[in-house]
């Protein structure tokens, strides 16, 4: 379950970053509107999956880190993981603020109407669009650090941290 959520969200977040980058750079057209529509809908799906994932984590504790890991690595691993979770929540929230301030009506997957959480304001729209972009950049860095650390566990430390997380790996 934890692995399924991890890899499922990894794929969705990758698609989401690509959609977001395409949506903002696309020339104004119906295609741009569609890109934003899918970006926003997917954002709420990721937000919901994050909630599910944190709930699951509270019930089913993650396996312990290898005993050989020095303290600074443990701290760094926990800090980066906390940053990843925080960004996965802050990105949809800041996007929601952008959408609200821009006063754009939106139904998640054309089904659930999204209420506005801030009043219409162009300055707020621009400011939070920058915040949203900043969070996305930070997420890319955090994901790179996370993947780099996993690779280091596998190739340098030669422990099972990456292997036990792989979708095709056996249950540990």
């Amino acid at each position: 379950m934890a692995r399924g959520l991890h890899w499922g969200m990894a794929v969705l977040v990758g698609v989401q970053l690509a959609l977001g980058a395409m949506a903002v750079t696309w020339r104004v057209s119906p295609a741009k509107v569609e890109l934003f529509f899918w970006h926003k809908s997917l954002g709420f799906l990721i937000f919901a999956l994050l909630a599910l994932r944190l709930a699951w984590r509270a019930v089913d504790r993650a396996p312990p880190l290898p005993a050989a890991m020095p303290d600074w690595e443990r701290t760094a691993a926990r800090a980066n993981q906390a940053l990843l979770y925080a960004l996965l929540a802050l990105l949809p929230l800041s996007g929601w603020i952008v959408n609200s301030a821009a006063n754009v009506p939106f139904r998640i997957f054309r089904i659930v109407p999204l209420p506005a959480i801030v009043p219409p304001d162009e300055a707020v729209t621009r400011a939070f669009a920058r915040v949203h972009l900043g969070f996305a950049m930070l997420l890319l860095l955090a994901v790179a650090a996370h993947a780099g650390a996993a690779w280091r566990h596998h190739r340098v430390r030669r422990d099972d941290v990456l292997a036990r997380m792989l979708p095709w790996g056996g249950r540990t």
Binding site: V28, S29, P30, V33, F37, P105, F106, R107, R110
Partner: protein
């Protein structure tokens, strides 16, 4: 000889006062501060309301002889406000209203038709973006000698007027129909 000028003056005064029993036509104009012209478009399946802030309506109505009446409306397209900054910028362009080439939209009726008490239809032509289409504009009229209100609602197809051309002509993102609503306060035009 001395009485004729007085008689002419008296008759003139009666006409100027809009003598009610004479059943004369009343000329009205819109009171901008108390009038609304709104529309509702659809975007990704959600309703997006908009308003035209500047427009002018003129009504000539004699309830006894509606056929001789007229309803003329002129709308400054650039006064459109859809409440979304990006959309407001976009609709100014050539694909949408094209403010630069077509600053105004207009409706000109040829006569009025009474439907029931206080309800009329104004058959005429609606011109937007240089495209004229026949339109039967329904409205309700309620008034006293000093002020009146007309209100009504109709649906327009944006494609018929070339509003949203090229790739926007497809109706998947922006729907084909636009609901138009107006409530106009009228004051005597004299």
């Amino acid at each position: 000889m001395t009485r004729a000028p007085f008689a002419m003056f008296a008759a003139g005064a009666l006409v100027a006062a809009g003598w009610p029993s004479a059943g004369g036509a009343a000329d009205w104009k819109s009171d901008p501060a108390a009038s609304r012209l709104e529309f509702v478009a659809t975007f990704e399946g959600s309703a997006v309301p908009g308003t035209f802030r500047t427009f002018d309506a003129r009504l000539r109505l004699d309830p006894e002889r509606p056929g001789e009446g007229t309803l003329d409306v002129t709308v400054r397209l650039a006064s459109a406000d859809m409440g979304i900054a990006d959309v407001n910028r976009e609709i100014a362009g050539v694909a949408w209203f094209d403010y630069a080439a077509f600053p105004q939209a207009s409706f000109r009726s040829s006569g009025l038709r009474r439907v029931t008490d206080g309800r009329y239809v104004a058959p005429g032509a609606l011109t937007i973006k240089g495209v004229s289409r026949p339109l039967e504009l329904p409205f309700a009229f309620a008034g006293s000698p000093r002020s009146a209100v007309i209100e009504g609602e109709l649906s327009l197809e944006r494609g018929a007027f070339g509003i949203g051309t090229g790739e926007w002509a497809s109706t998947g993102v922006v729907g084909p129909d636009v609901r138009v609503r107006f409530k106009v306060k009228l004051i005597p035009a004299e």
